[in-house]
């Protein structure tokens, strides 16, 4: 026989004065690859595949963005992770840098 279950009492959220709901993402760093006139397009595609584990289609899309637009934002990460990726990309002699993303 069905019984009626009392709903548990849910406490109201405690709002501390001065606190607000976070509406923006944590500050992070963008890993950016810049166009250069020396590295070959298949080479750049290969590097993106190797460093980020991307499939060829995604790697080529970013390579073409670099080639046609002068730069491509590859990933957004913490400072430490972004540094590791920039180091790997520069190890392959690509023009990669990081920039803070406060958006």
């Amino acid at each position: 026989m069905p019984t009626t279950v009392e709903p548990p009492t849910v406490p109201a959220p405690v709002v501390t004065p001065g606190e607000s709901t976070r509406t923006t993402r944590d500050p992070g760093y963008l890993v950016v690859c810049w166009n250069d006139p020396v590295n070959l397009m298949p080479y750049v595609t290969h590097v993106f595949q190797t460093v980020f584990g991307w499939d060829r289609r995604k790697a080529e899309r970013h390579m073409l963005e670099v080639h046609n637009q002068g730069r491509s934002v590859l990933v957004r990460e913490s400072l430490e992770e972004a540094q590791v990726h920039v180091h790997k990309l520069q190890g392959y002699s690509l023009q990669a840098t990081l920039e803070r993303d406060d958006a």
Binding site: P37, V38, L40, H46, R56, Q83, H87, G91, T97
Partner: protein, 158 residues
């Protein structure tokens, strides 16, 4: 240079005597080092990136030195780079080592390009035709061939 086989995850390359010699010359030329490296960040107002920039730059230089030294050592190692009949060689590398060789050769190519003043040939920039520049152009072309072969080998199963 061409891929002979993949054996248990290892790549075995055939190198003619000439290719073996030219690879070593390329790496020796690269030993002079690239003159410039990209900064960690192009932003001028980021204190965190600025603080890390110096150590980062030193790390990149050390990385390029290490990859070149490793590649040179492999080509000299008679157990890894086995001389066959007719003076050709069989070079055995893991995929990771092949990536290292690729980086070292491409760095030689970029270094040669920088020695030309980093011209943008596609934009119509031209260089002076002199022996020094000619050597750099030949270095770039040679490195490009090896880079192409290594990329083909690494993606052969794609």
């Amino acid at each position: 240079m061409n891929l002979l086989s993949r054996d248990g995850g290892r790549l075995v390359f055939h190198l003619t005597r000439r290719e073996h010699y030219l690879l070593r010359v390329l790496l020796r030329l690269a030993r002079r080092g690239r003159r410039t490296h990209a900064p960690l960040s192009r932003a001028v107002d980021d204190p965190l990136a600025a603080a890390a920039a110096e150590a980062f730059a030193a790390g990149i230089v050390a990385h390029h030195d290490r990859t070149r030294s490793e590649a040179e050592a492999w080509l000299k190692d008679p157990r890894r780079c086995i001389r066959g009949r007719g003076g050709s060689f069989g070079l055995t590398l893991t995929p990771s080592e092949t990536e290292t060789l690729l980086q070292a050769i491409n760095a030689a190519r970029v270094g040669a390009w920088e020695s030309l003043g980093s011209p943008d040939f596609e934009m119509g920039e031209r260089i002076q035709a002199d022996p020094t520049n000619l050597r750099a152009v030949v270095t770039m072309g040679l490195a490009e061939q090896f880079v192409g072969e290594l990329l083909r080998a690494l993606h052969e199963t794609d």
